[in-house]
Symmetry: C2
Subunit: 231 residues, 2 copies
DNA sequence: GAGTGGTCTAGACCACTCG
DNA sequence: GAGTGGTCTAGACCACTCA
């Protein structure tokens, strides 16, 4: 094992064993370098991983401390519906419900940064797992950025699969929330109106131009997101 | 900005803009070092972040390639309720509802890795924003690992604030989902029974021992999670 | 065998921030 | 002002793996 890795493991052990409790300051780099018989950059590298994972906080002049961790940043996989379903051995089906060019509602217009009179390509489609509705997708595509989208019928392949081949996005924003199913969602997802759904709203941009905004609704009973583990 | 960071950003741009498409091989370290006018360790550091995030794959002798499977991972912050509320200028209040030692249900017992007869400290408390219920917390604390918890009353300070001073966690798992409010949740949160709630279930460990399992329920109407920027 | 990545050293300069 | 972390260089050796 690499030295920096061995040192990181040992430092982690000292923290988890309570040798360095939360809030305690730990020796500075020079002292650790001497203790472990390595140079300072090697110690810095060992500490970097602990800082990135939020276990240790460092400040110039003030030194390094074991963090009092109230919260942490966690990494989530926002699943691609087809991969998710096929990944657990399910049968995936796709159905285009609706496709037209229209004026998006204000919320979507803002997300896509369209003018008040702007129009966009609106798509609704359903994704099935083993024949049961799994996800209702309601998407708006910015035709100003992707005029070719108007020529696609999106019957055989979903918009997402087409989009990823057209433009790599440079930025994405996700909003996760719960809501009561709208009548339209309830019908499509075959759940009772007002029953809970899990919503993922994603907007993607290339540089500062919005490509698409999509609302993904899942029946609450059959959907959850689990964090990938920190290490 | 640090050189390695600038270089990483530029390399990321080349990948996301399609200059280096998935599967393409990218110049080796020595070539990049010459191009950017830095030494090889600096290039290595810039690439390390891209490798860690799964964007690039590297093999000795074979060189570096843009990964074929682009993982759609996003980073988000699981907020700390008090920070979140006070951060947007709201008034935060806290109320302990219930506190006892009990046998947890099977789901929690599994999360805490307790034997069938195991007991744990059970807490229920409410967090308010401007006097309105914002989050219902239902927590189980592993007394085997934290016997001192039995001596805390958790009236003035929430369990979370006490816990972070006791032991730093080394691993956490979060499950995010939507559900219909249980009668108990509906009453505490002052919403209609069956109305949607957003649930965060978190288990934290130190090494391989579970510290605590907590279920945080939010009224759907007043809660959402937004991703921190793409990278 | 040779080319590539993986790592480490020794030294250096700088930036930040606390006292 | 001084102590700490943050970073970079120049060079080196090694490990792995492909041809």
């Amino acid at each position: 094992m690499a030295k920096h890795q061995e040192i990181q493991t040992e430092l982690l052990r000292r923290v988890t064993r309570g040798e360095w409790p939360p809030g305690a300051s730990i020796p500075h780099e020079a002292a650790l370098a001497e203790e472990f018989g390595v140079t300072r950059p090697t110690i810095a590298r060992a500490l970097r991983g602990l800082v990135d994972s939020g276990l240790i906080e460092r400040k110039r002049r003030a030194g390094s401390r074991v963090a009092l961790r109230q919260s942490a940043e966690v990494v989530l996989r926002i699943p691609v519906v087809r991969d998710e379903i096929e990944g657990r051995g399910g049968r995936y089906d796709y159905l285009l419900l609706d496709r037209r060019v229209a004026r998006p509602p204000a919320v979507v217009r803002a997300a896509l940064q369209l003018p008040a009179t702007g129009r966009a390509l609106e798509l609704r489609c359903l994704h099935f797992e083993d024949g049961r509705p799994f996800q209702l997708e309601h998407r708006w595509i910015n035709l100003g950025l992707l005029p070719d989208a108007a020529g696609q019928d999106f019957v055989a392949a979903s918009a997402n699969e087409w989009l990823v081949r057209q433009v790599p996005y440079t930025r994405a924003e996700h909003v996760l929330r719960a809501a009561a199913a709208t009548p339209l969602e309830a019908e499509a997802l075959q759940v009772d109106p007002g029953s809970p759904v899990f919503l993922i709203e994603r907007t993607t941009w290339v540089d500062d131009e919005a490509i698409t905004h999509v609302r993904l609704a899942h029946p609450a009973a059959s959907f959850r997101i689990v964090t990938r583990d920190g290490r």
